[in-house]
């Protein structure tokens, strides 16, 4: 299956046309469903980046200000590419989508919306998201949609580092001191109710067979990886019930409204302005 209007498809290949600017300049036109799919992945990356960038100037050590900043920057890059591509369906820019959509129109999962907790909570969330995103982008690299495939092929290399970062910290915290073990386990317990939502198939992913990744297909590899890292870190797989979610349908946590209020405030004070 192709996603409408691929006259410039040859320009979209690995190592080429991967940034938001390149995608915007390539004259692409994503079809509606592909745009919806790109939007949800873009929203996940955008909100997680927004959450993570909070740490810059607040991290436990300078090296972590830099590392977490790096990851936030990578995620923002993924969001920009995905939202730019999504915007091509309706003549919108990445900024139209990021700053001028209301809460109901965002389709991010609840995991990325959770209020920031301590460093253990952040590492737990990063571990879960990065392991999921690694499997996601690995699979999406083979998408029939060349733009999504190219974005994914670039992203997966970066996410590999994010996995490594979270994995290393899970081990340090799990194995470090009594307090760090307790906090890391608590972080895992807090984010765990939001894991299932990552792997839910729905009408959209069903319709986009070959283009989108079936989220449920990623679960076994994720489970394997998470079991390994938890075992190495002397941490336990949480046994907590799953939360009611609905992020993909625009049903969000209260916290998302606050994230968006802050993120969008300045842009909305000056509609139509350029920066």
């Amino acid at each position: 299956m192709t996603a409408g209007g691929f006259d410039s498809a040859t320009r979209i290949s690995v190592g080429q046309a991967l940034t938001a600017e390149d995608i915007a300049a390539a004259g692409l036109h994503a079809d509606e469903d592909v745009a919806r799919y790109a939007t949800r992945l873009g929203d996940d990356a955008l909100i997680l980046s927004q959450r993570l960038s909070w740490w810059i100037s607040r991290a436990p050590e300078l090296e972590e200000d830099i590392a977490l900043g790096n990851i936030a920057l990578d995620l923002l890059g993924h969001a920009r590419s995905l939202l730019t591509y999504a915007g091509t369906a309706g003549g919108k820019t990445e900024d139209d989508l990021a700053y001028f959509r209301d809460e109901d129109d965002f389709t991010c999962v609840h995991l990325v919306q959770l209020d920031p907790g301590d460093f253990g909570h952040t590492i737990a969330r990063q571990l879960v998201y990065s392991l999921y995103a690694y499997e996601l982008y690995t699979a999406l690299s083979h998408s029939d949609d060349p733009t999504l495939a190219a974005i994914a092929q670039k992203a997966v290399k970066e996410v590999e580092y994010h996995v490594d970062h979270a994995w290393q910290w899970a081990m340090r915290l799990g194995d470090g001191t009594e307090e760090s073990h307790r906090r890391m386990q608590a972080g895992l317990d807090q984010v765990w109710p939001f894991v299932d939502e990552l792997f839910e198939d729905d009408d959209l992913t069903d319709r986009l067979k070959g283009v989108a990744v079936q989220p449920s297909s990623l679960r076994p590899a994720f489970d394997d990886a998470i079991r390994r890292v938890l075992a190495e870190s002397t941490l336990e797989l949480p046994s907590v019930p799953q939360a009611r979610t609905g992020g993909r349908r625009g049903e969000h946590r209260e916290s998302l409204g606050f994230v968006l209020a802050e993120m969008q405030s300045l842009a909305r004070m000056h509609p139509g302005a350029s920066w």
């Binding site: 938001a20 955008l46 927004q50 960038s53 909070w54 810059i56 100037s57 607040r58 991290a59 436990p60 050590e61 300078l62 090296e63 972590e64 200000d65 830099i66 900043g69 790096n70 936030a72 920057l73 923002l76 890059g77 969001a79 920009r80 939202l83 990445e94 900024d95 990021a98 700053y99 301590d118 460093f119 081990m171 340090r172 915290l173 194995d175 470090g176 001191t177 307090e179 760090s180 906090r183 802050e262 993120m263 405030s265 300045l266 842009a267 000056h270 139509g272 302005a273 350029s274 920066w275």
Partner: protein
């Protein structure tokens, strides 16, 4: 660049008693070569450098805060990305500088304690608030711009590790200045409200940015010694003058005015004259009574304290790993 230090070829040093080590040190300074960590150096040189480099490092770290405030609200995703990268660069600068300071024998943890207990100072400019998005532009253009004027000559500093750290830092600072100028350029060419925002920011940051070069030469007791040691190459007023000469045409290109009625070209001097700066305010801010001193310190202290358990965990894990490795290698040896 010519060396403008008038004492360059005469008395480069300190003491009257001339040990062979002192003579060797003096010779290195005189020949414009570099002192390296293992070379002998006078205690006063070591102390002055440790002070300067660590204050510079602290400034980079505290300097992350005013602009860091705007990461969450940056008005476009592209600007957000550039800003994250910039603030992250400043953390990197802090790291290189702490490493350079450590080569003089004081560990980073001690330097950090000096910052947190208020014993060490940092650049007073970061005690001013970044109230609007335009302040991010003004900080990049004026504050990073002033930092470049200060730091380019430091690339030739007599102490090797500091000079080399500055080479890396300066490359990034010039990106920062460019980006700040671009932010202001977009605003100055935007809506009337955006242009006003840009002008307000420049009005607020102009004076404090000029004060980043330190007190006037007549009032700067440490400068002379520092120039003799070739740590500093130009006086505070010389650097300030260069900075003013640089920013006047840049402000014109932006279509913004600089808030100084005395600013005018002096044909005779071949430089811009500028008005008196408020040095009472400078001293007040430096001594702790600026608009944000307490806030900046509280932020840093909180981050340090809340991160303690993480650093302890990392250290404990590293110790356990080392124990395992020692045991393994012992086993190997006995195998």
């Amino acid at each position: 660049m010519a060396d403008s230090s008038p004492q360059a070829s005469t008395d480069p040093g300190t003491t009257a008693t001339s040990s062979p080590e002192q003579e060797q040190f003096d010779r290195i300074i005189e020949q414009d070569s570099r002192i390296e960590p293992r070379d002998w150096m006078p205690d006063a040189y070591r102390k002055a450098l440790t002070r300067q480099i660590s204050q510079h490092a602290h400034s980079e770290i505290i300097g992350m805060q005013p602009e860091g405030n705007w990461i969450s609200r940056a008005p476009s995703l592209k600007r957000k990305a550039i800003l994250i990268a910039k603030v992250q660069d400043e953390a990197g600068h802090g790291l290189y500088l702490y490493s350079a300071a450590e080569t003089l024998g004081t560990p980073r943890s001690v330097l950090n304690d000096q910052l947190l207990t208020g014993k060490a100072k940092y650049s007073s400019i970061f005690n001013y608030p970044a109230r609007s998005w335009a302040d991010v532009g003004a900080i990049g253009w004026l504050v990073d711009g002033a930092a470049i004027q200060n730091q380019v000559p430091l690339c030739r500093c007599s102490y090797g590790p500091y000079g080399r750290a500055m080479v890396r830092v300066c490359k990034e600072e010039s990106f920062h200045q460019r980006q700040g100028w671009e932010i202001l350029h977009s605003l100055a060419n935007g809506t009337p409200a955006q242009k006003q925002m840009a002008q307000d920011a420049v009005n607020r940051f102009y004076g404090p940015a000029l004060q980043m070069f330190g007190p006037p030469d007549g009032d700067s007791p440490n400068s002379q010694q520092s120039m003799q040691w070739k740590i500093k190459r130009f006086s505070n007023d010389e650097l300030r003058q260069r900075f003013v000469d640089m920013i006047v045409p840049q402000a014109e290109a932006l279509g913004l005015t600089l808030p100084d009625p005395d600013l005018r070209w002096n044909e005779e001097r071949g430089h811009y004259d500028y008005g008196d700066l408020d040095w009472d305010e400078f001293k007040a801010v430096l001594s702790g009574n600026g608009p944000c001193n307490a806030q900046r310190m509280a932020h840093r202290i909180r981050a340090h304290e809340e991160g303690a358990w993480v650093r302890e965990a990392a250290a404990a894990h590293a110790r356990k790993q080392a124990d395992v490795e020692t045991k393994e290698s012992t086993l190997l040896r006995h195998a």
